[in-house]
Subunit: 223 residues, 4 copies
């Protein structure tokens, strides 16, 4: 399982992180992770999983899986296929790709059966508690209104982080809790850990940075 504390990068469908550019970011994280021993993972587009897996040792995640089993499901993302391409984990129910409750349950179950790590994203304390009822590996709480913004969730709404940690651990203490939205630097990461989170999930903070290496090193300094 993904070691904690950790930094998980979601590259979304940013032009700056598609194809060879996704690979370059993965390689940069791989180098730094290797150097300083920090746990880092990267979630990439389905098209880019196999290329990244072939070149880096850090865990490569899918950004999404669909609630399906093998069969007639043209163009959907089969959990078996992301694992087959080499992904060791997946995001589930990201703010930009919400799922129905029964489908989150289905995806968590499939991920467990396929030995895929799985980070279920939530938007507040009550949905974090609901997600905890499904006993996933990880829950990442991210207030949607702060995603992609300039102020870290750890500054704008520290209570949602500490509250989610407490609530989730009360349901099942084995679930790891991450937080995300607006996370940009090592100080934000440090604050997340201080609030009880076991890592962060971020995207634009790295993907949109001019000097990605400095940003990643700074983020890692907060672990």
């Amino acid at each position: 399982m993904l070691k904690t504390p950790t930094i998980v990068l979601n590259v979304k469908t940013y032009a700056e992180a598609t194809g060879v550019k996704a690979l370059e970011i993965a390689q940069l994280m791989n180098k730094i992770s290797d150097e300083i021993g920090a746990s880092m993972a990267i979630a990439v587009q389905a098209t880019d999983i196999s290329r990244c897996v072939a070149e880096v040792k850090i865990p490569v995640f899918a950004e999404h899986i669909d609630p399906i089993v093998p069969g007639s499901h043209t163009g959907w993302t089969l959990p078996e296929s992301v694992r087959d391409a080499g992904a060791v984990g997946t995001l589930i129910n990201h703010s930009e790709h919400r799922l129905k409750l029964a489908d989150i349950d289905f995806c968590v179950t499939r991920a467990k059966e396929l030995n895929l790590d799985h980070i279920v994203c939530t938007n507040n304390i009550s949905t974090s508690k609901a997600a905890a009822a499904l006993s996933p590996n990880f829950i990442a709480v991210e207030p949607p209104e702060l995603i992609g913004g300039d102020i870290s969730v750890t500054t704008a709404d520290p209570g949602i982080v500490s509250g989610s940690v407490k609530t989730v651990k009360d349901v099942d203490k084995n679930i790891k809790v991450l937080c995300g939205a607006g996370v940009k630097n090592g100080k934000d990461v440090g604050k997340a850990i201080e609030l009880g989170a076991e890592g962060v999930l971020l995207a634009s903070g790295i993907v949109k940075a001019k000097d990605k290496e400095s940003v990643i090193r700074d983020l890692a300094s907060g672990l």
Copy 2:
């Protein structure tokens, strides 16, 4: 552009066509296409595009693209990404992955801008006519109730094929029309051509076959 008459295989998310098995089918089609000079293309899962593209010369398609531009769209299929992975075309609006009308329009426009061949799937003559209004490369008419079944659309409902061909060509004679659903052998392909179609779109007929090579050769004999 994909040469016609053609056979387009959609491998869906069948276990028999995921990962290395998708590649094996692509290689088989590549070998036969090379040998007999028939036009064939394969649409594979997003995770498998780059692996297939690296090994075969036949056109590799995506099974789907989402109506998005680069940006914050976690886990969706970016048109640029399937092209970047090496796909030269895509299905749009497959029966198992229907899109809103405005989104089909958006995807067709993006596919054109990215020089991706694009096959818009439809379910009857009137939606074929509507799709034709968007001037895509290809329209593939497939009655949903016959998909995956044992009787070819060319036998069960030949009028939907000839009717779609006529209606589409009346709107824009440059659009190529394929048909699909239940297509299993060379006779079905021959009948499709006879009805005015410029090829077939099929899935289980090949994917579920025990002797895939014989089936592909038989299908190709109908071109």
Copy 3:
């Protein structure tokens, strides 16, 4: 709040329960409820709420609310509007109308703020537990594969009923638990109560019955 034990009828969009026919069923339930003092409620289509409310005293529910606030949402079901039409409660996340987790949370919150009773439907024990985390009034567990069928959930899968009751009460003992799927007669209702449920949610058992009055009386005998 809806008194328990209770029988909640969901008339769906059955032809046999649209318009004046919905009203006739509501009147029948009203008469029997009045006569024997049993708690019964009816969930009707949005178009039929005001007509039923005007004629019966039993609680009238909406079948669904959408996760919206007043504004630009053409054709969606505003929680305020069903209340304004006279509904005193609503189903949320029915098997035929599933919602995203964040939207269930939103709808439960809106229902509480508007003093609408709300029955969150779930499909198994783990989603019942997840729904319980949101502290709704009611949870109704219904295995989708048994809905509309001939065998009552209380016979086909009694463990899902008792398990949901136990799990939900462990999270929040104030939440009332109903069960549904295949419920047809008083014996099924009695078994539901015996398994710890505080009532049943049903549809075709009444709507498709030739002699609705007998069926309702029989069901009520099991309370």
Copy 4:
């Protein structure tokens, strides 16, 4: 069929047009329509159809119908039900409630079979042409980016109106074309007619107006 030229008001789910307030606006339009002989229709929420129909003579429309037939479809909007409640027409595929192409086709077919007028909303010339292929009664072209704004489509993008009219009439001259987005006064309505449209579809221009009567009279002056 709804007479043209016409003004169609869509009240959406605005607080200012829910329940008795929807009825008050309908009555105001009814009074003015009666006085000056102008064709006007009002599309209201499903919950409000029967109440409006009981009190006004102008045509009452639904804001939406779902692509279903009577049966097990909890909480969806059955075409039969809006007609049964007294609606004589419906919007289909509004910008805020887009449908899949095959579902627009299905809804148009159902509306015709049920003798419901139906206004298919589109977002540009190419989707207007596609919608025309389905031969609906009415097409209303509304650029989504102008909806709810201060500048009328007739000023901001007159070419989309005249272009849609021409394209639609080329496909089927019996289809009536409306336009909408930002329409606020009689001058906008006059310009719409001048561009070839047979009326307008609007919402906030009336619903959000302080003096609704003056606005309606002014709009009608442009017919």
